[in-house]
């Protein structure tokens, strides 16, 4: 079985994002970029399934600009067999990303697609669900445990009420939550080896999908700031302050 993994490049989660003063976007020049943390987890899970013999091939997919190559090489260094780079200069919406994945699925026929539950730049949390809908296949979102056997996935999902377990026939789409696994670190020799691994480059425009985006972002603003309050010196002062606010 092949596993297709979403491997998006985003602003590193440690960066404190600044909004441009003119409200046209956020400052990304010179900012550290990394793999979306949920996608590292997706890749790790795929690699573990390959190590268990459940899958033979792990393919990382990145949809983005021409300079995505170095990022995809990281995925290869982590252990993916090959990469697909769907090239586009434009930001892609979750719907376009889902339509793109569907095209790749038609070609690659994977048994499993693992995406992150959300990209930490747009925080959309949509692509996996949309892909599953368009593909007409099961979705198991927010996964914290995955078992594959007998042509089906048994997935534990982190939901508001607790932990839900569902069973999904393969092929299926799984989206990862943070507790699914702890991604491995990339080792230096693997970075060398990754140089020999193939990256297919496909133009988004050549896939024949409708990439129109009917949602436009018109303005960016900094969030309302919470200001530093007061410090109290002991428990008695804290209780007094809370009582004064009517909170106790």
């Amino acid at each position: 079985m092949k596993i297709l993994v979403g491997y998006k490049r985003v602003v590193d989660y440690n960066v404190r994002i600044q909004v441009k003063p003119d409200g046209t976007g956020v400052v990304t020049d010179g900012v550290k970029l990394s793999a979306n943390p949920f996608d590292d987890i997706a890749l790790e899970e795929a690699l573990r399934l390959r190590e268990k013999g459940v899958a033979e091939e792990v393919i990382v997919v990145g949809i983005g600009p021409a300079d995505l190559t170095a990022h995809l090489r990281n995925g290869l260094a982590m252990g993916a067999n090959r990469a697909i780079h769907v090239q586009t200069a434009d930001a892609v919406s979750p719907l376009t990303a889902a339509r793109t994945f569907l095209k790749l699925i038609e070609k690659e026929q994977p048994g499993l697609v693992i995406l992150g539950k959300q990209a930490i730049d747009d925080d959309a949390n949509q692509t996996g669900q949309m892909l599953a809908a368009l593909w007409d296949r099961p979705q198991a979102t927010f996964a914290s445990k995955v078992e594959i056997a007998d042509g089906k996935a048994t997935v534990t999902r982190e939901v508001d009420a607790g932990l839900e377990t569902i069973e999904a026939d393969l092929p299926a789409v799984i989206t990862t939550d943070l507790r699914l696994n702890e991604p491995r670190f990339i080792k230096l020799p693997d970075i060398m080896k990754a140089k020999a691994k193939p990256i297919d480059v496909i133009e988004l425009g050549s896939l024949g999908i409708d990439a129109a985006d009917h949602i436009k972002t018109t303005h960016y603003a900094a969030p309302a700031k919470r200001t530093k309050g007061v410090m109290v010196k002991d428990a008695a002062e804290l209780v007094a302050a809370l009582k004064q606010k009517g909170l106790l």
């Binding site: 949390n125 669900q129 607790g162 569902i166 026939d169 603003a221 900094a222 309050g229 410090m231």
Partner: protein, 313 residues
């Protein structure tokens, strides 16, 4: 004029409070009508609750055995069919809505507006990106259906003084059998629900162990608060995942939030930005949580919590 369909969230025959928050966002859109749809194997009790929400025009029920569990693959095709004639489909931005709404959107051939914080117009909304470090205004093309999830912490629950009619709806949708519910392990707790509680006490890695977490529960019970946790506390196994507050946990807006032994990482702060009063107790006076806390107290939580209990009396 807009016609809005709000997807009701429910569990064990009870309507989830997030639904009334989604209705508030629908009201802010100033539509011609707001209908709530309840998909269930036995929708009547939930529908009766939904019918009371102020602003609701009517409640539609889709009763089918397959709807006994909230599987997106089963519910989405029915909602997509029911959505014909509506200009907007809203769902709460809970794990239920986040799982389901994008599947509905894709079936309708549209992108989704996730986590609506404010309504600027029938097709214009504000939502957070980058863990809430930027707020964007988005405009949805007027010709396409608006599918949106509503950031529950940004909206008060609409009151329950109404009496909307309830109508049974038959939707002709073939449902897949490729996805099956196995079980739901629910944390049983008599404490106030984290997402609806007016007071929340959260513990972080500083609490140190599962056994030590008792001190957090005990204090929370003393003041009638719900209990939350940082991701580090959940990851370390001090408490179950459903207690996590933050970017990848629950986004909450209690009147009082007490962060105890929590450093204040941006991913945690994302979950509490809308809290009324934030109190931080941390032994490190330099902890970033103090930058945003309304009231800070530097010290050892194991010493301070018993003192607080004593001082409250």
């Amino acid at each position: 004029m807009s016609k809005i369909l709000v997807i009701a969230e429910h569990l064990d025959g009870k309507l989830n409070g997030a639904t009334a928050r989604a209705v508030s966002a629908a009201v802010a859109t100033k539509p011609e009508s707001i209908d709530v749809i309840v998909l269930s194997d036995a929708p009547d009790a939930v529908a009766a609750e939904a019918a009371k929400i102020d602003g609701v025009s009517k409640v539609l029920t889709v009763a089918r055995a397959e709807n006994a569990h909230t599987l997106a693959a089963i519910l989405a095709p029915q909602i997509a069919k029911a959505a014909v004639g509506y200009s907007h489909v809203f769902a709460p931005s809970t794990t239920f809505g986040k799982d389901l709404a994008p599947r509905v959107a894709a079936l309708l051939g549209v992108s989704q507006v996730s986590d609506v914080m404010s309504v600027e117009g029938a097709h214009s909304f504000k939502r957070p990106i980058y863990a809430g470090n930027a707020i964007v205004t988005v405009e949805v093309d007027a010709a396409s259906t608006v599918v949106a999830t509503i950031r529950t912490a940004s909206w008060p629950a609409a009151a329950s003084n109404g009496s909307a009619p309830v109508e049974a709806l038959t939707v002709d949708a073939t449902l897949p059998s490729h996805t099956r519910f196995v079980n739901l392990q629910q944390g049983k707790s008599d404490r106030p629900d984290l997402q609806g509680a007016s007071k929340v006490v959260s513990g972080g890695r500083g609490v140190g162990s599962k056994e030590n977490f008792e001190i957090i529960y005990k204090f929370a019970d003393k003041i009638g608060a719900g209990v939350g946790a940082s991701r580090a506390a959940v990851d370390a196994g001090y408490c179950p995942n459903e207690m996590q507050v933050g970017q990848t946990g629950k986004i909450i807006a209690p009147e009082l939030y007490m962060a105890i032994g929590i450093s204040g990482a941006i991913q945690h702060l994302t979950g509490i930005k809308d809290a009324g009063t934030i109190v931080a107790i941390n032994k490190d006076g330099e902890a970033p949580i103090f930058e945003i806390a309304d009231i800070g107290l530097v010290g050892d939580l194991f010493k301070i919590l018993p003192e607080l209990e004593a001082a409250i009396g």
